[in-house]
């Protein structure tokens, strides 16, 4: 009896193993197809549709778009051919020029695209700091107008209360 059960179990395990052998390639293929599509999408998001719509290549949804359909097909071929994302992007650049990149490459003159806004902001910050410093110094040197402001806490509290009363809240 026991031997019969073991025989059945062995047969089942054998069948399962056989099944797994048959299904596994399909599963692997499905998974790799999914991974392939994800990779196409990931790289495609770094590229731009050049039909004039200014949309990301894989997001262009214009029907019969003269650019995005063929370009996505070219991208698929590049992704199949190259394991590296960078190489696939290079293949796209060779085909369509640097304009196909959704953002300028951070090299050569195009580096200016990335640096200039932050350089300008930093310059503005320095300028403001200088202006603040200059103004603060002038104010420190300027004669005091009107009555001096007291450091008396009770008086300060009274003025605060009056201002709050005037403004309907702390100023």
């Amino acid at each position: 009896m026991r031997r019969a059960i073991e025989g059945h179990r062995g047969r089942w395990i054998g069948l399962l193993f056989l099944g797994a052998l048959v299904i596994a390639p399909h599963l692997v293929r499905a998974q790799s197809a999914q991974m392939f599509e994800e990779r196409v999408k990931r790289i495609g998001k770094k590229l731009l549709c050049l039909c004039g719509c200014n949309q990301i290549l894989v997001e262009c949804n214009h029907r019969n778009c003269p650019f995005s359909g063929p370009a996505i097909e070219t991208l698929r071929q590049a992704v199949r051919r190259y394991e590296s994302d960078d190489l696939a992007i290079q293949a796209m650049i060779q085909q369509y020029g640097t304009a196909v990149l959704a953002a300028p490459p951070a090299q050569g003159f195009n580096l200016a695209a990335w640096l200039t806004p932050f350089a300008a902001a930093a310059g503005g910050l320095v300028l403001i700091a200088l202006v603040l410093r200059r103004w603060s110094r002038r104010h420190a040197m300027a004669p005091v107008e009107g009555a001096p402001i007291l450091e008396d806490p009770a008086w300060r509290e009274r003025v605060r209360r009056e201002i709050e009363k005037e403004l309907g809240g702390p100023s």
């Binding site: 008086w155 009274r158 403004l167």
Partner: protein
């Protein structure tokens, strides 16, 4: 008949405007009051005259007068009434006439509202007439919407031609929001002409005090409010119509509307420094100039073909007109600035770095940095091509990477600024005001991190949103508490009283809160999910919490278009949520396709479904679905911003804050003298 009347009305408006402009200049130079009065009256007349031209063009659209080229190119017989009405501004010629009409409306109300004599208002009227003159020249001679269609006969002569039907309106524009989006945007763009005119007039006439600021504050807020509404409507239209799942693509034309919004926002903040402290006069004048120039620049971008965009009108010679006008305006501004610099000297200096004044300076810096980044990104393809000879693209990845840090900093300043006192802020006050908001902001970020949010920008955005919300709530709470203690009223009454006492200040806080809510909505885009699938009837697509089943596929037609419609059942777990029906349409008159997006909107997320196409081999429909978190918050935030703008525009019960502040300061001195100091 109507086209002749329309053309005549445009020419009459042009003549009247030319008189208003030239007579106004002569009256200003010769100090001639009668001439000045006639110039004013001529300025007032432009609006009713152009209204006749507008009525004629609308009449031509509504009566299907296809002998007129503009009508034939932008309408057709079966176009619904509402879209025939909106078709007027769907093309170059009509939109420019519409622009002129809105400008004449602003001039009309400015001249009627500000009747007082003196030099400021009349000269502002002359400057506005000068701007109007430019647009009317375009309307009359360069891009007239009243041109009659003609064909060349076999003998070489031309004769009128009337097509059986028009070419129809662009399907993308056949959407209810498109009826309102261009008018609101134009009201915003054109509205900035008013503060520009007053600023330039004040500079030319060396108008004493801050008169121009007081006059134009409301006009600036109205223009800013319309521009905000226009941008929001445009974003919503892009979301609901274009079908790529987003609402902002950093398209050059979107950028063109965003840039004056940023500088206009900077002006609305920095103007307070001039009102209260007599500071930043040069800065404010240039902010107004730049805002106006950016509005013209946006129009130039849209119409010149310098940059490619889906929104742009076809490349046309009109771009040269705008670049010329832009240069002329800039030269005039620069000339008068160089001649009148002494007029713009600040009355006060900064007393402490830790003050409301310096927070405004930083706020302005950040807003202008954002504006520059957008301008730079928009123009970089042109600059790069000119320098290197090769073309590059600057798309959403660039703008997002550069602008997100800037906007997060701006969000931080939204919370920090209002808590700093004018002139000087003590460390104690800083501690008192910032402890709870900072703790709550940090706790929010930490909590979200614990719950699995890992995107650093999203964490910062949510944390800062919490921080700013607490600062705003505490401002309302403290103000209402004071009123409650004074009057014994309920919290609701006290809050209402507080807002009515200083609508500008508390309206501003409401606007800030709206920005916070919008920031939450925008931060949600970090968690977007999407999936595309070819479906058969009965098959189901799983995405996030949703299961979308294709139930039916049908074809049909309306007088305006033929369509293919999918019926999709949306379920969440066991619950049946809704039925969505995305469509693919082909508009018969224009033979242009359009895909109608369907959205199931919720507080947590939107399920956005787009009928992407049909597999040419299998004939099966392809569905592209997105789960877009928190998008509804963006629209609600926009509504709150507009509500806050309305509150700020409402006249407060109290006198101007500057007067109150002066009184308070005078009392400070009295108290000090009474104590013998």
């Amino acid at each position: 008949m109507m086209d002749s009347l329309g053309s005549f009305a445009v020419l009459l408006a042009l003549t009247t405007c030319a008189y208003a402009f030239l007579a106004g200049i002569v009256a200003h130079l010769k100090k001639h009051p009668v001439l000045r009065a006639t110039a004013r009256r001529a300025g007032v007349v432009i609006f009713p005259t152009l209204s006749v031209a507008m009525a004629c063009l609308w009449g031509l659209f509504l009566t299907d007068e296809f002998s007129i080229a503009y009508v034939a190119n932008h309408s057709n017989r079966d176009l619904p009434f509402l879209y025939k009405f909106a078709a007027l501004w769907s093309g170059q010629e009509g939109s420019l006439l519409f622009w002129s009409w809105i400008l004449s409306g602003y001039i009309f109300f400015v001249l009627l509202k500000h009747r007082e004599e003196g030099e400021l208002r009349p000269l502002a009227g002359v400057i506005l007439a000068g701007i109007q003159l430019f647009f009317l020249i375009l309307n009359a001679f360069v891009v007239s919407p009243f041109r009659v269609l003609a064909e060349i006969a076999s003998d070489g002569t031309t004769r009128p031609f009337v097509p059986a039907d028009g070419r129809g309106l662009n399907p993308l524009l056949q959407y209810p929001e498109m009826v309102l989006h261009p008018p609101t945007l134009y009201l915003g763009y054109v509205g900035f002409s008013v503060p520009f005119a007053f600023a330039l007039a004040a500079l030319i006439t060396r108008s004493p005090g801050e008169r121009w600021i007081h006059v134009t504050r409301r006009w600036t807020m109205i223009a800013w409010g319309f521009l905000t509404l226009g941008i929001l409507m445009g974003a919503h239209w892009a979301y609901a119509v274009l079908g790529w799942g987003g609402y902002w693509g950093w398209d050059p034309v979107e950028n063109a509307s965003f840039m004056p919004w940023l500088t206009g926002t900077a002006f609305l903040h920095s103007v307070m420094m001039q009102e209260r402290r007599g500071m930043l006069k040069v800065w404010n004048v240039w902010l107004v100039f730049i805002t106006f120039l950016l509005c013209v620049f946006g129009t130039f971008l849209t119409r010149s073909g310098v940059v490619s965009s889906v929104h742009a009108f076809a490349q046309s010679p009109i771009g040269h007109w705008f670049s010329g006008f832009l240069l002329l305006v800039f030269a005039v501004c620069l000339f008068f600035f160089s001649r009148r610099r002494d007029y713009l000297r600040s009355e006060h200096r900064l007393e402490a770095v830790l003050s409301r004044e310096s927070s405004f300076l930083f706020n302005n810096l950040v807003l202008l940095a954002a504006c520059f980044a957008v301008l730079w990104g928009t123009l970089f393809p042109v600059i790069s091509e000119a320098v290197t000879g090769s073309k590059v693209s600057v798309g959403p990845p660039f703008f997002n990477r550069v602008n997100i840090p800037i906007f997060l900093l701006l969000l931080l300043l939204t919370g920090v600024g209002p808590l700093l006192a004018w002139r000087r802020t003590s460390w104690e006050s800083l501690k008192r005001n910032f402890t709870y908001p900072t703790l709550i902001g940090a706790a929010t970020g930490a909590l979200l991190f614990v719950f699995g949010v890992r995107d650093p920008y999203a964490l910062l955005a949510f944390g800062l949103s919490a921080f700013v919300t607490v600062t705003i709530v505490s401002e309302f709470y403290r103000g209402a508490r004071v009123i409650r203690s004074q009057t014994g009223r309920t919290w609701a009454h006290a809050l209402l009283e507080l807002v009515l006492r200083n609508t500008r200040r508390y309206g501003g806080y409401v606007v800030h809160f709206g920005i916070v809510v919008m920031a939450i909505g925008i931060a949600g885009s970090a968690f977007e999910k999407e999936r595309e699938m070819e479906m058969t009837v009965g098959s189901t697509m799983e995405l996030g919490r949703y299961a979308v089943t294709l139930k039916d596929r049908a074809r049909g037609e309306t007088p305006n278009y033929i369509y293919e419609r999918l019926t999709l059942e949306v379920r969440r777990g066991d619950e049946r949520l809704t039925t969505l029906e995305p469509e693919r349409r082909l508009y018969t008159a224009s033979e242009q396709p359009l895909t109608k997006v369907t959205i199931h909107s919720g507080w947590r997320e939107d399920l956005y479904i787009y009928f992407a196409g049909v597999n040419s081999e299998t004939g099966m429909p392809i569905i592209h679905a997105y789960v877009n978190p928190l998008v509804r918050w963006l629209w609600i935030g926009g509504g709150i911003v507009l509500l806050g703008t309305l509150v700020a525009l409402y006249p407060g019960r109290r006198p101007m804050k500057v007067a109150v502040s002066e009184r308070a300061r005078a009392r400070e001195r009295e108290v000090a003298y009474a104590k013998g100091d």
